[in-house]
Point group: C2
Amino acid sequence: MPAARDHEVILRLTAASMNHRDLWIWKGQYAGIKFPIVPGSDGCGYIENQRCIINPGISWGDNPNFQSKHFKLVGLPEDGTFAEYVRIPKENLFAAATHLNDEEASTLGVAAITAFRSLFVRGQAKRSERLLICGIGGGVALFALQMALLTGCEVYVSSSKQGKVKQAIKLGAAGGVVYSEDSWDKNLLEMVPDGFDLIIDGFAGSNASKYLKLAKPGGRICFYGGTGGKMNDLSPQILFWKQLNILGSTMGSPLDFQNMVDFVNQHQLKPIIDAVYPLKDAEKAFIRLQQAEQFGKIVLKVA
Amino acid sequence: MPAARDHEVILRLTAASMNHRDLWIWKGQYAGIKFPIVPGSDGCGYIENQRCIINPGISWGDNPNFQSKHFKLVGLPEDGTFAEYVRIPKENLFAAATHLNDEEASTLGVAAITAFRSLFVRGQAKRSERLLICGIGGGVALFALQMALLTGCEVYVSSSKQGKVKQAIKLGAAGGVVYSEDSWDKNLLEMVPDGFDLIIDGFAGSNASKYLKLAKPGGRICFYGGTGGKMNDLSPQILFWKQLNILGSTMGSPLDFQNMVDFVNQHQLKPIIDAVYPLKDAEKAFIRLQQAEQFGKIVLKVA
């Protein structure tokens, strides 16, 4: 049982959702990792009778444009939410939305705030704009898809798997491509000859240079991750002539988190859950996450 | 003698300033070039007794964020300002600033509007911010330096030549580095450990990845050119974790041009002139531009 310090409370967890960050920690591959550590950034639980969710970003600081040097996530360096109890700063607790059960509410953490900031705060997505959301199936991409559709955007997707593209189209996406297609970028341009107002991506790597060609003049390309590694072969001529914007985004400020929660409530957004495992089967959940077969969030049921 | 069409006038030129674009046209290396062509985008001259300068961007269009597909510059595909007379749309003429002589006024074309939009419209430079302006000595970089200093920014510079860094410091730059130094980027970080709010660059190429490290969290990196070619080795992790903005900028809207002219008038900005040649010695002027020894604009005196 953790002990609360000043401005902290102890949350009794009922559900926790997983992120890739947890997988990297589990595999010992996260920068600055120190054992022992309880991973887990997202959670839903109770303080007495109050049902709460966690804003996993601690000490953002005063500047809405970027996080302070003291910024950290729940779940490293301090113990996280894959547990019965977690110690959390009071200000990081938000009321859980009444239209969501505990498992659904627990997913509104890292992925939802990352999607919200990338899409709206950094990407400035607006009704009727045409978007490309890459790597559909992952938590951030799916939240971005749902939020963009609820905003009235026309959304295309990309994925490594045909099945995930089909599932996204069922959810309301206008179309999509599979990376294994020889010229997925040209196929996208055939679907959308004018290009995209906004591209949301967490891969970067060899895909990044293609986004410059896929973007409309004045378009925005927002990266919230970089699992594909360094970006190469980017044409400055395309960048300046099309007046493009390449934007980095990570997590979100406390105000972003409040706005995300308000958006979810206002639109009665229902997070997409891939699977729920009991906490004791966390290893199975990690393996599911590692296999990258999921479409939606993987949740641990704590109690 | 060109003939004016609808909404056009004939400007009698007295001075014209050179840009790298003219050099590429002169060398036959410009995309879409068709001969014969009179190059030259910038100019000062007279319509009867009215002294005017030229906004070299024609048909920008309605969107302040990017130029229309019909956008073109004076001097290709239609004849330009290295001549006694040029045909110009009426709306592209602006009153010449009274504190400038014809040669000085003629420099307020491509370079000045490119600098103004990169610095203020795209780069959002503000008083007290710390800037890095790369490739000092060229027309855009020098206008950006002067405009940034007049705004109250602290400006550092880079150049291929030590002498140009020294000249920039005389103008008010806080410091600078020479690219031939082994670790010019690390030397800059020693001068400015917190990094730069805004970096203005027209080279890109192998320098681009270093700018990600030199930028402050939330910083902006604005490219108005790409003579260094493709950008490689850009870290998406630095981009998203520092919430950076990589922005492309070219030329400027008619409103940007008006605001640039107003800025020059309000601050009584005096453009820096490297050399003035009579029009008949244009070849010497082109050679001077090609040698990249200049510090300031190269001007042709027409009459």
